[in-house]
Symmetry: C2
Subunit: 526 residues, 2 copies
Amino acid sequence: MFYNKYPGLHVLIFSVPAYKLIYMIKDELYELLKSILGDGGVSVREDDLVSYSRDIWAKTTIEMQNGKMKHLPDAVVWPAVTEDVVKIIKFANENAIPVLPFGGGSGVCGGILACNGGIIIDMKRMDRLLKIDETSLVFSAQTGINGERLERILNEKGFTLGHFPSSIYCSTLGGWLATRSAGQLSTKYGKIEDMVISLEAVLPDGSVLETTPAPRSAAGPGLTQLFVGSEGTLCVITRAIMKMRRLPEKRKFMGIMFSAVENGLDAIRNILQAGVVPAVVRLYDELDTFMIAEGRFHKGHSGIKQLEEDNLKDMILHKAERLLFSHPKIVSLLSPLIPGRSMLILGFDGSEEQVDTDEKISLRICSAAGGKTLGEEPGNIWWETRYKVSYGLSPVFYIGGFADTIEVATTWNNLLNLYYSMKESLSENSLVMVHFSHAYREGCSIYFTFVASAGDERKDEVYDLILKKGMDACVSAGGTISHHHGVGFSKQRWLGRENKGGLNLLKLIKKSLDPKNIMNPGKLGV
Amino acid sequence: MFYNKYPGLHVLIFSVPAYKLIYMIKDELYELLKSILGDGGVSVREDDLVSYSRDIWAKTTIEMQNGKMKHLPDAVVWPAVTEDVVKIIKFANENAIPVLPFGGGSGVCGGILACNGGIIIDMKRMDRLLKIDETSLVFSAQTGINGERLERILNEKGFTLGHFPSSIYCSTLGGWLATRSAGQLSTKYGKIEDMVISLEAVLPDGSVLETTPAPRSAAGPGLTQLFVGSEGTLCVITRAIMKMRRLPEKRKFMGIMFSAVENGLDAIRNILQAGVVPAVVRLYDELDTFMIAEGRFHKGHSGIKQLEEDNLKDMILHKAERLLFSHPKIVSLLSPLIPGRSMLILGFDGSEEQVDTDEKISLRICSAAGGKTLGEEPGNIWWETRYKVSYGLSPVFYIGGFADTIEVATTWNNLLNLYYSMKESLSENSLVMVHFSHAYREGCSIYFTFVASAGDERKDEVYDLILKKGMDACVSAGGTISHHHGVGFSKQRWLGRENKGGLNLLKLIKKSLDPKNIMNPGKLGV
């Protein structure tokens, strides 16, 4: 209908930035969407469009600071039920208008940038926890539900999802599923793809898919996992059946200090391969450990001590540190002088006797790798302040710097190669801190935080350079380009080097499901 | 080329049974395939074609006994390397000839029937274990490797895949992956889809895909799982990187008797939900337990005692038992008189202290559910004879009966509903024994064995009727139609009721990857 009235619109949307659309057309779009969703279900107000023009990808923060708003959508809609989503998708498909599913907006890869304009589908009104099955330990929920609220409701009934990403206050179940999110206890509870039983999803033609809700099935290929990680490019995930657990009887955290990161990694690997499944393993490399121990600007990030933001700012402004992140090579040169120490946060949960057995075996392994126990305090402080990670980097931007993170993964025998390759490449232009978390029997993820600085007019360029060096090093060293942040806009140029033929296959599937390319176009390389 | 020379052939292949192809054309096909694979890499001999005309689906056994050979392929090829497979697929695609990847031939759903003729690709020469990475606990292997041989090689080096399907002597890694196989220790070690890290696969256009070899990734959708369970309809899986574990320090099995199946199921659920991960849980329902305890014809199947096949045949011929499976309703009527007992086989492995902790917690839970321990003997006998399950049903066919199995799964809160619905439906025309194995925190699989008898001319019909009643009951009760045997030919008519929109999606993906429908046509509903 829209397309028929304004036959040139879809061409216009795809060929010029959508925010240049003339107001009359935007008004018409508003009226049409309002006829679908009613009053209050749609907005084309400038302030709303600005709010939904980005996630928290560092580069768009830099752009925003420079007064640039590159990716304004044309409208924002708030569906309340799956049928609303169906109507929006059908309307969008008919008129070849991009649609962008939006969760909490906490993505760090530009996964929801309206590169070609279009309609943001904010899922946050679809926030109902529909059913808790206490016998099977599964629940069903709409995917717009906020993560912290979901966990809180489950906790009140004695259950937990066990998913604790640092974004939990500003992310949703749907966002987690769309990006293959990992929480801080993923070593035991799994990543979100390990927790999902089945999905309801609205496909680009408006049809509704419900995958098989069995704990396991051999009834053909695994369709659920095709949509987990699709970042809005293949469907809108509207509902999910998820595993949950009973709240553990006991949870215990501790800190262990190793003389070098290699020793700490050996301990983690041996613990997991001994069949122990800790709730958390989190090893800071020497520089990261040094920053924590020195109590300097990294505190907010590491979460060892909570600081007032103002104090933090003061500290960040400290001249020596400005120098450090302006001249990261100095740090690289000095780093051999940093006392070689690497701290491991280790945690267990379960029944009293399970925790005791796990702890006993693990401490024996740590001790054999030269680890010295620091007691429970470092672990408890980490647990209490675990959500602060996401907020620790913002102050860097206030004072003229920038910061971002890259999280990759590989098998154990390739881990040090990947770590040193990427660290070296990133360190050429930034200050790099690293921790290892989300460990598996077969390998581990590596989480790089880089901090740098440049004049306003050059920040874009320096940011791009650092990212390119880091990601090039990752694919050359055989790592996967993302462990849990996703690919979005920022990493898509490396996706084709991730595996052999995978991107082609993805394009083929995308084309067959979404021939008009309406679903989150310009992301994931498809 | 083939197509160009004989433009009518692909039409012929798709429209009439392929074995009616005139010899000249078959000779030509032979010559062309020989030019690709060399001498010894291809056969069109009648005896080879007969050997590859079926797996061990019960219905084709019945047909064979009646002298029918419905599904002869046109040729069999034996590639040795991935490049051979690429050449075959390209040739087949160019000429629109069906290709059917073939592992050990132990499938029970007719998954490799050459319904439209075509080329059987027997993968058994691609049997190399390519690399063992002892640090990461992963190995890489060609997929034609025999299961028992693979496990034996790993064992010799101190490792285990932990995958013990009863077909292990006559199935391959590729077959396991293609059908989402489960082994008898799956409760701890996972199903094959839980063990796979990444795949190399030849797609229908002859391109080679290698999925990301990381323990976890957020680089887009999960492509590996799209091919696991595709049963040869989307690709030929040529290589896989798989997880492995060190051989456990200790393995311990035991038997526990419950007064009813419900009590045993409660115990299993509570053990798993307490965070204990037994290596095996296997609960026999009252009739199955009765058959085991009475030492009658079910012995070979249950594996409690090993019997000579001749003795077994004698026993099966026993008049009373013939009556039982000829008149299964008698059993249904009598079953309330069977002493209500349900036996659980429980097993643990790991280090001494892990096994002790797991056993202590589990026995406490079993005791609370009214279980009486039978000591280690029933468990040890089960473990020693665990591979006999697959061979126990053959004698039934010798004496004029037939038997088959159906394995389904659902969440715990739906398990008894699914169990009683299917048991009732199957019992109308067959003698039904059931065990529950492959348990998860969220649910469990149910394994039905049905035995029946009919005159030769009516066996087909009675078999179809029993299967239909069982499968209809499964989808009506919300179970998944297969937990680990796959769908193949026999269950495909129920796949569309398995989930909402899944079959349509599968058809769309199949069409985009395989527009000429060369990959194992006529299976999986696509």
